[in-house]
């Protein structure tokens, strides 16, 4: 089961993914990183937890966006893909649901 989300402007969404993996009690098997924050950064996490494995991919990229970019320069886009795999669909659903709720809380911004 997959969760895919796109966030704009925010720096450091991968920190939230790491926090959530920690909250789930996942053990990190592998972390791969390529590119740079100045252009495009890709982070991939492979993790294991009870009755399931998780693959999390975070892509952070800076792009120009017409209209909004006026005065703002390049805007950061972050795509997060969470893949949960388990023999139990309920377990997959539980993990994806948890990620979805925690990412919503951690990425929330309220500026005014």
């Amino acid at each position: 089961m997959r969760l895919e989300k796109e966030y704009r402007y925010i720096y450091g969404v991968w920190q939230y993914v790491e926090m959530i993996l920690g909250e789930l009690g996942a053990s990190l098997e592998e972390v791969r990183e390529s590119g740079s924050e100045d252009d495009k950064l890709v982070k991939i996490y492979e993790a294991k937890l009870s009755e399931a494995t998780i693959r999390a991919e975070v892509v952070y990229e800076k792009k120009h966006v017409p209209i909004i970019s006026k005065g703002f320069g390049k805007i950061a886009f972050t795509t997060v893909k969470i893949d949960a795999t388990s023999d139990s669909p309920e377990r997959e659903n539980e993990i994806i649901d948890y990620f979805s709720k925690r990412l919503s809380l951690y990425t929330m911004r309220a500026a005014g």
Binding site: R8, I10, G12, G71, K74, L105, A110
Partner: protein, 599 residues
């Protein structure tokens, strides 16, 4: 690790008595500081049915646990009371240096009670405090008051004071601190005036300690990095100030023009941040510990509006600009400077003039009452009427009551673009549905800084929402309102929350206070603050009937532009909002909800 211990002083202006106490841990932990603690004190101690301008009202100046620390933008404080403009609870937030000086003086909260027989000011010097006569200051504008106090007491004092508008109980008056910073909304300046309290002068030289220095430094560095990396806080606001929004909001067709008659202002570019930078900007300015620096020092170099000052901010440019049909930065800037000197809320002032202009357009307000022709785009009128309002002269005496009372007097209350009697700010909600829901439900009336749905619906922060859709907006609004309540209580600037979220505020608050907060707990605190404010209003007589918008936004489709054809679909969103808040069908917090929040 030593836990945060805030100090509160109570000043009874009737008797002259003062009392110092330590803020109980439970109050600090559950309400943080600033807006939260103030709301709880007002809820516990003030009868919500009182006349806001009577001695029974309490006026609270409160810093947060991050105020005066090295947390990025940690210089904010809140002024709270029962509002004379709306009759609701009000809390207005301000930057500059005053709040940081208050904490450096060893004080977090000041509660003013009663009414002084003669004008007084409070002098605070590193924890010592004394009420003094302000008779020679009475009548002076905020700049002269500040200059005189700094001359008498020393340049190392920071001053928050009212001008003539507050003294004359103008319902849209506000205090001004550091000459150019305002806790603007809700008429707190009139309450200050009603108490014969002219000023608070603070000298603070102590270091503000945090509970865990190492963890705080880490949290502070992380926050600073995220603020720098963000396109809005790292580039847009430092380069163009808040006025960077003018063209963006106008292009989206939600820039309220001529008292919200449309959402497109053809002359927007003439008053934009980009134009400001090329014409009147002389240098940038920043509040205490702020890495963003959105402040603008400006100068009108020639002509009848020749003058120097700070601003105007986006909201002010809109209020005196598009709202009144004025496409010229010179009179807009002059009117803005006057508001700072006279002690007036620029949003309510500009919008009330816009309301008067529409009353004139529709023949409700005649030339003999207006004192002159009151036509859209008249730069002289916005300057003159601002001065007259502060002095309550001529039509200014009607404007001093705010747009709702003005429009009622002239027989067209529907022309007041206000919620709960407070003027709406610079976003037409017909093209920003979630923002409309926030406007209708905000505890202090028309206000944009307590649930800024413009972020996701227009700017796409943190993710881009369909601005015309209503589905799911109730949850977004609730969460934004709750998180904002936390930030207003912390002592940090709301602008940081373009870049920071619950985890970052939690790290800063935990390391500063020693309370082991979690992101979930701080969101619960925000919910608690929101509900306490709501309870105050219900006891004051407000109900779900007041959670509404001006008829124009509900019934008149936007006539042109990128939001053409839309109205706010409030009826679709409001019941869902009450439900997601855990309230009853009439918008009242349920016993279960209050128990859950520990209220």
């Amino acid at each position: 690790m030593a836990k945060y211990k805030g100090t509160m002083i109570r000043v009874n202006l009737t008797t002259g008595d003062t009392k110092k106490s330590t803020i109980p841990d439970e109050l600090s932990r559950n309400y943080i500081g600033g807006r939260g603690i103030s709301a709880k004190i007002l809820y516990d101690e003030v009868d919500p049915t009182i006349d806001p301008l009577s001695p029974d009202n309490k006026l609270i100046f409160a810093a947060g646990p991050l105020t005066g620390t090295a947390a990025p933008t940690g210089g904010r404080y809140e002024v709270s009371c029962k509002s004379p403009l709306t009759g609701t609870i009000v809390g207005a937030n301000s930057g500059g240096e005053w709040g940081a000086y208050l904490r450096r003086a060893g004080i977090e909260v000041i509660v003013f009670e009663g009414k002084a027989k003669k004008p007084m000011y409070l002098q605070i010097t590193d924890g010592a405090y004394e009420l003094k006569s302000a008779e020679k200051l009475w009548g002076l504008d905020t700049h002269k008051t500040t200059d005189m106090l700094q001359k008498d007491l020393g340049k190392d004092y920071r001053v928050a004071c009212i001008g003539p508008a507050g003294e004359k109980l103008v319902k849209i008056a506000c205090p001004i601190n550091d000459k150019h910073r305002a806790p603007g909304r809700g008429g707190t300046g009139a309450v200050m005036g009603s108490k014969n309290l002219k000023a608070i002068a603070v000298k603070g030289t102590k270091t503000v300690e945090v509970a865990d220095k190492e963890a705080f430094k880490k949290a502070q560095d992380d926050a600073a990095k995220k603020i720098k990396e963000h396109a809005v806080t790292g580039q847009g606001l430092p380069t163009y100030g808040t006025a960077v929004l003018v063209n963006i909001i106008n292009e989206n067709g939600v820039f309220p023009t001529r008292n919200f008659q449309t959402g497109v202002f053809p002359e927007a570019d003439k008053i934009s941040g980009e134009t400001m930078e090329k014409t009147i900007l002389t240098k940038r300015a920043a509040c205490f510990a702020c890495p963003i620096g959105c402040g603008r020092v400006t100068e009108i170099k020639a002509g009848k509006y020749k003058s120097v000052g700070e601003g105007p901010e986006y909201e002010t440019i809109w209020a005196y600009g598009a709202e009144c049909g004025v496409g010229d930065l010179a009179p807009i800037s002059k009117a803005n400077y006057l508001c700072n000197e006279l002690g007036l809320d620029t949003i309510s002032m500009g919008s009330t003039i816009g309301c008067a202009m529409e009353l004139y357009q529709r023949g409700k307000l005649k030339k003999d009452k207006a004192g002159k022709e009151l036509k859209w785009g008249d730069g002289d009128a916005i300057v003159e009427l601002t001065e007259k309002t502060a002095k309550r002269e001529g039509l200014g005496n009607d404007l001093a009551e705010g747009s709702l009372r003005l429009a009622e007097k002239y027989g067209a209350p529907e022309l007041s673009m206000s919620v709960k009697g407070q003027e709406l700010p610079a976003y037409d909600a017909r093209g920003i549905q979630g923002h409309g829901l926030h406007y209708a439900t905000n505890n202090t009336g028309g206000n944009h800084v307590r649930g800024y749905m413009v972020s996701p619906e227009i700017l796409g922060v943190p993710e881009k929402l369909d601005r015309f859709a209503t589905e799911g907006k109730e949850t977004w609004v609730k969460n934004f309102q709750n998180l904002t309540a936390v930030i207003d209580s912390s002592g940090m600037c709301l602008f940081t929350s373009f870049a920071l979220g619950a985890p970052e505020y939690t790290a800063l608050l935990t390391s500063a206070t020693g309370f082991d907060y979690t992101p979930d707990e701080i969101m619960t605190i925000g919910d608690r603050i929101w509900n306490v404010e709501r309870l105050f209003n219900i006891k004051a007589g407000f109900s779900s009937e007041d959670d509404t918008l001006p008829p124009r936004l509900l019934k008149e489709p936007m006539p042109e532009g990128a939001s053409k054809g839309y109205v706010v679909k409030l009826a679709e969103m409001l019941p869902k909002y009450y439900k997601v808040r855990g309230w009853g069908a009439n918008g009242e917090p349920t016993k279960k909800k209050l128990k859950e929040l520990g209220i």
